[in-house]
């Protein structure tokens, strides 16, 4: 592709050189000698500009020989007799070569400028594509953020009307209306669902705040049982703690650990038959403080053991209703993991399930208590 126009330039300017020479040779006797080098200089510049440096140099040398041979006295000889002719020829050659080089340099600059411009254009295109992609990712992330925000604010804003309905139902209940109690139960159910949604949005946004501190097992167990008293059949929960043995301590976040235990108790109550019991215990196991919630429910099969910790998973044959989004265990596990703990499920001897929460244990030296 590049050779064809290049060869055309050489042929064209070769022919121009021949034509100019023929004309000048024909009028050489009559014309002024000084116009000759200038005319050839024009040819060299023209060839240089269109055909490049090599054509320019070739035309310079050819013109030099032609001028010397045909157009300087003595004609048709390569010898130079007059010093002024020598200077003219030398000047011509230098001018022609320098002009060719300058043109070539200018052309190179222009070419590289064009290449740069193309590069810039290409980069700009790349950049644009990248920007579009970034924009897309940003839009996705923004969408995610919006979704979490909507989840959070909707569940937050729902509390006020829920409060109003609950207050009105309780107001009605005072007059002895049994429907009012049912309304209140449904409000409580809706409230739990809203709380689950809020939890899920926090979980997704990674917005749990943890402040692991020295805490006692008794304290968090007591708080968990207290928080569960509002639940139906909460009287089935039994705390198994040896309060005569030294107290058990661990380094954990009180609030989040409480949430884990409450979630486990809520879950366990669902599978505890009326008349049965749901045991909450704590023990020390090497570097771990272990909380366990044990039920005598139907248990969980090997295949479902890990799946129960997935969000929105419901064990086979479980009652679909229960008013929960099925994320309690998923939240519990992520809260455990986030504070260097572990939450696992084991089959219970004699039937049922044991959920075990392991957290870093701590030892308390009475000398550190600051009592003089």
């Amino acid at each position: 592709m590049t050779m064809a126009p290049q060869r055309r330039h050489w042929i064209t300017w070769g022919l121009v050189l021949v034509a100019v020479t023929l004309v000048l040779v024909n009028i050489r006797a009559a014309s002024e000698q000084t116009y000759v080098p200038l005319t050839y200089l024009l040819v060299v510049l023209g060839g240089s500009a269109s055909g490049g440096r090599r054509l320019g140099l070739a035309l310079s040398v050819a013109s030099f020989v032609i001028i010397d041979y045909y157009l300087q006295t003595p004609y048709d000889h390569l010898t130079i007799t007059k010093s002024v002719d020598f200077v003219t020829l030398a000047a011509f050659l230098v001018t022609a070569v320098v002009a060719s080089e300058l043109l070539a340099a200018a052309k190179r600059d222009r070419d590289s400028a064009v290449r740069d411009a193309e590069e810039v254009k290409r980069l700009a295109a790349d950049h644009e594509a990248l920007a579009r992609e970034t924009e897309h990712v940003r839009a996705l992330r923004e969408g995610d953020r919006m979704k979490d925000f909507v989840l959070a604010s909707v569940s937050h804003d729902l509390r006020t009307p829920l409060t109003a309905i609950k207050a009105m139902a309780q107001d009605e209940a005072r007059t002895g209306s049994s429907r009012a109690l049912e309304i209140e139960e449904q409000v409580d159910r809706l409230t739990r669902m809203v709380a689950d949604l809020l939890d899920l949005s926090r979980l997704r946004a990674g917005k749990w705040a943890f402040s692991p501190e020295l805490n006692s097992a008794e304290d968090v167990v007591g708080a968990a049982i207290r928080q569960c008293t509002a639940l139906e059949r909460s009287e089935l929960i039994v705390a198994r703690l040896d309060e005569t043995a030294p107290a058990l301590y661990g380094t954990f976040d009180f609030v989040q650990t409480l949430r884990i235990l409450v979630n486990l108790l809520e879950n366990g109550l669902r599978f505890t038959p009326t008349g049965g019991s749901l045991e909450l215990a704590a023990r020390r196991d090497g570097p771990h403080l272990v909380f366990s919630v044990s039920d005598r429910g139907p248990g969980i099969t090997e295949g479902e053991r890990e799946r129960v910790f997935e969000a929105f998973y419901r064990p086979q044959g479980s009652i679909a209703d229960l008013g929960r989004a099925g994320i309690g265990l998923a939240i519990a596990r992520s809260l455990a993991t986030a504070q260097q703990g572990m939450l696992s499920h084991h089959a219970r001897d004699g039937g049922g399930s044991v959920f075990e929460l392991r957290l870093p244990a701590a030892d308390v030296d009475p000398a550190d208590l600051g009592e003089g």
Binding site: T163, A164, A167, D171, L214
Partner: protein
């Protein structure tokens, strides 16, 4: 007095509060609430934080400038930091929406009782809470007539809680009351002291009925 912009909530609360109050004032905005508190000096204020005209915390702070009646806050927020900041702004207790009116009434009664006993109780008289008797002057506690041996820090903790019975003291307020402005390691052990204290004064330390944990916020002494 009830400060809430939702008419339905105001009406339901008014009906519920009639059990404990002769007269219930209503305010539909923060500004109105501050005016009424200044002119009528109610015995207690139930304040919704989600008011349209000004932040509930601001209302709380304004009322505290001229009055010391108990303020029970209704909050739609869940976070423990919010609760801690409200308590340190001068609120006496809070209930998270949606609450049961039974629960709110219990809190209101506890606050009214606390406000009244604070007015009449001479500090030298023994304070009786269930099977516990506190004699402040002698720094002694008895449980069912039997003396309970508390360490100095345990005594300071229980004293701070009892003097503010019914009110949740934040961890910081307890640190200040027990350790003063001293900072450092001993405060790490607040929960250890509470655990030891409960083992001495509670019948069942893992389901305490006197020293109650307010998760992430602090502790509260409940009068049975």
């Amino acid at each position: 007095m009830v400060v809430d912009d939702e008419f339905q909530i105001r009406r339901a609360l008014k009906n519920a509060l009639r059990e404990v109050a002769e007269r219930v004032l209503e305010a539909g905005s923060g500004a109105e609430g501050i005016d009424l508190a200044a002119t009528h000096h109610p015995d207690l204020v139930v304040l919704d934080l989600g008011l349209p005209d000004m932040a509930g915390a601001e209302v709380c702070r304004e009322i505290r400038r001229f009055a010391s009646m108990p303020i029970v806050v209704l909050s739609a927020r869940h976070s423990e930091e919010d609760k801690v900041s409200l308590l340190s702004l001068g609120a006496d207790d809070y209930v998270t929406k949606p609450f049961s009116t039974v629960e709110l009434l219990a809190r209101v009664k506890a606050q009214l009782r606390r406000a009244r006993t604070q007015l009449i109780a001479p500090t030298e008289a023994p304070i009786v809470a269930g099977d516990l008797t506190f004699e402040v002057g002698r720094r002694s506690v008895t449980k069912s007539g039997e003396p309970v041996r508390l360490t100095p820090i345990e005594w300071n903790i229980v004293l701070a809680l009892v003097m503010h019975a019914g009110r949740t003291l934040t961890h910081q307020q307890l640190f200040d009351a027990v350790w003063g402005r001293e900072f450092g390691d001993p405060q790490r052990y607040l929960r250890v002291h509470i655990t030891n204290l409960r083992r001495k004064i509670e019948t069942s330390p893992s389901s305490p009925k006197y020293v109650v944990t307010e998760p992430g916020v602090g502790y509260r002494f409940e009068m049975p």
